[in-house]
Symmetry: C2
Subunit: 434 residues, 2 copies
């Protein structure tokens, strides 16, 4: 079976979605239970190079309606943004019996009521995983793994631009305007940054989240919204002295029949895991009775993270059509990848030796490590204790486990080494990398 996608809008997110569709085609189709095909693309500009090859796409047009009205399209992906033409496209697609995928939070926050009602009437779905926290699987989690829980509180960092600015102000000790300018140069902030820095973008997303979690309609205009443009370094520093970090927080609470929805600069206790969300990263923390606290963290925006969310939505749409759920277990009984033997694994190491404190010990150990291609990153030597024994801690650069084990065997044969060496591996994974 084939599932045919028509994508309107080849901007940043649109290009990211096309890239994801192409690069992960095998996985996308396997999980969709159908061959997912990019049947059509629509954009006013079909000429610019967007780093994707559209030559095999059957239907290329400047007019989104060509896709909406085509009988060869099962699902319309709206990625042009805005609330006027985008709204017409979404309505048109639903009326033509197509499922819709969109990442347009402004559209849904302002016109969600009308659009979702229309979708229900036509027995179609609107998926919008990309609308809140691009790389964070929050929407489907609320309807999936968290479906049984009644979320009572949301505390979210859902605007990457403002979180980047606050992080930089804090870390580099520079004022708002300077950091904003830099963010604009880096492409992290728009030329007109109002939506991001004044909390409006976050308010859009909070209205969507609160509506889903609390089972009630929350309109954008009901969200109390303040931004970060009047935040000073001084306030960030005073807060830090008192144990807090400043975040633009989107907060929603379900208080027995009444709800709270607000976006404003907020001091968060530094110990809170939410306080550790830095730079352009986003996080949504939720609290439900029974479940307790749970948090989803990831990149909030960007072509590929949001593109991936859009394609995950396409998979859900395809499953609706094929009545096939995403779970494919064949992994579990098809071993296709070999497991690398531990001796070939490379990591950095923490080594704690117990040695006789005399000159030359460190050089002997370093020599043996060097002979096995293990180079030293740093050494921590402490005062000798009774009996002239002394722990020496060595951190290594990346080395092969097999080489390390051989080196340790040699080292343990030295007279001056008094005990088994403590080996702890180090993982340098960067959860904040691109």
């Amino acid at each position: 079976m084939v599932y045919r996608v028509g994508l309107i809008g080849l901007g940043t997110v649109g290009s990211g979605a096309v890239k994801t569709l192409i690069q992960n085609a095998d996985q996308v189709s396997r999980r969709a239970g159908a061959d997912v095909v990019l049947q059509g693309v629509a954009d006013l500009d079909l000429e610019s190079d967007r780093g994707v090859d559209l030559s095999s796409v059957p239907l290329k047009t400047n007019n989104g309606w060509d896709l909406i009205q085509s009988d060869d399209i099962d699902c319309v992906v709206e990625l042009i943004g805005g609330e006027t033409i985008a709204k017409d496209f979404v309505k048109g697609a639903l009326e033509h019996g197509k499922d819709v995928v969109t990442a347009n939070k402004a559209l849904l926050a302002s016109h969600g009521a009308e659009l979702f009602q229309l979708a229900d009437r036509h027995g179609r779905k609107i998926h919008f995983e990309g609308a809140v926290g691009g790389g964070i699987p929050i929407i489907q989690s609320l309807y999936g793994g968290l479906a049984s829980s009644k979320i009572r509180e949301i505390h979210a960092i859902i605007n990457g631009t403002s979180n980047y600015i606050l992080t930089k102000m804090d870390e580099d000790d520079r004022p708002f305007q300077t950091v904003l300018k830099e963010a604009q140069e880096l492409g992290y902030a728009e030329l007109d940054p109002t939506y991001d820095v004044e909390g409006i973008d976050a308010a859009h997303k909070l209205a969507l989240l609160a509506s889903i979690c609390f089972g009630t309609r929350v309109d954008l205009k009901q969200v109390y919204t303040r931004g970060i443009s009047d935040i000073t370094i001084e306030d960030i520093h005073f807060g830090a002295r008192l144990g807090y970090r400043l975040k633009l927080l989107a907060i929603a609470k379900d208080l027995n029949g009444e709800i709270e929805v607000r976006v404003h600069p907020t001091f968060v206790p530094a110990r809170q895991i939410l306080a550790s969300v830095r730079g352009v990263f986003n996080a949504v923390s939720m609290y439900a009775e029974g479940l307790g606290s749970t948090m989803l963290y990831g990149r909030g925006a960007g072509d590929l993270p949001t593109g991936a969310a859009v394609v995950s939505d396409i998979i859900q749409c395809a499953q609706d059509k094929t009545s096939r759920r995403a779970i494919d277990y064949s992994n579990f009984y098809t071993p296709v990848k070999a497991v690398r033997p531990m001796s070939e694994v490379e990591t950095e190491y923490y080594l704690r030796f117990l040695v006789q404190d005399n000159p030359g010990v460190l050089s002997k150990i370093a020599g043996i490590l060097g002979g096995r291609n293990i180079s030293i990153l740093s050494v921590l030597q402490t005062e000798p204790s009774q009996n002239n024994q002394c722990p020496v801690v060595i951190m290594t650069h990346e080395a092969k486990e097999g080489n390390l084990m051989q080196a340790l065997e040699e080292i343990h044969a030295l007279d001056v080494v008094l005990a088994e060496t403590k080996v702890i591996r180090i993982e340098k994974m960067d959860t904040a990398r691109a």
Copy 2:
């Protein structure tokens, strides 16, 4: 339509699942698209008080087979644990055409191949959200919002007991054995803690995660597994001096055709968000090209978090039957809850006043705040600058926004107050609370 659940095993997780089913019945049925009914329970002990009222459950039995063979049951929930009887029950349920929900990671890590193949043969599903990180919606996210992404790396803290012990050793400067004993007294560790502290439980979960993410079968015995029982305070301290925190990390990497799977004590850079995961909390950090890094965080175990995961799985099973997806949009066009006016919202406040530095100023301000029922938590007063002007920072206890605004109006009328006061709200939400 009615969807009938038979639950085998009324232990910790079983009772938690029953509580969730009862307490959140409305939401569960709405999202399932069917009336979800607890049709039967089976346990050797039906007499003990488990804090749940089973009087309305039609079928109560000491024999799990009574549920499996019943025509009145659509879905069998296996929560007895272990790999012998539990395996027979799961196989039997599938063979009798029933979907299965389980939280049994040991069973799936060791016998997943056989069981999933059986499920496929019978056109049935096994859902297991509760098997990895009880309160973390990781499994459904992998098949849902993350479905389009090819996960390349997993770094996970997926054993709450060992993370609790390492956190306490670090924070309280106490040795492993002492903290383990305390954890046992608190019920965070089993009397025989081997599975948790030796990394076996984490290895089970990692085998499941790696199989799903990398599209290959990973057997438990392929996972390199080391525990934390030989970790000393000394090593934790040396690591801290070098900028690391010690975690029992479950690591899996997809390296172009070859994979790495290992569980061992690991130093993590303290700046990493994973290093901030404390106590019994779990987190799964994943990296995929395009998507970048994403992390899911929450309670790893416990009756209600795992029970909620089990019930979310039941919702998915019911949807399979009803061909109805979890997304219900009616929220968006049914406003049922009022939004609390901002003046009624209560938070703590950070207030920065700019005042003329002379005696009595602070007492005047404090007096006005007190008159509006706003009590002071702490005061930060700094050196006066030129012109004898001086910022005063006051942190308040919880107060009503309306009261604060009135107080500020009064305060601004004082001659000694020289500028608009900076107001930043504080959220004390505890993402680590139960």
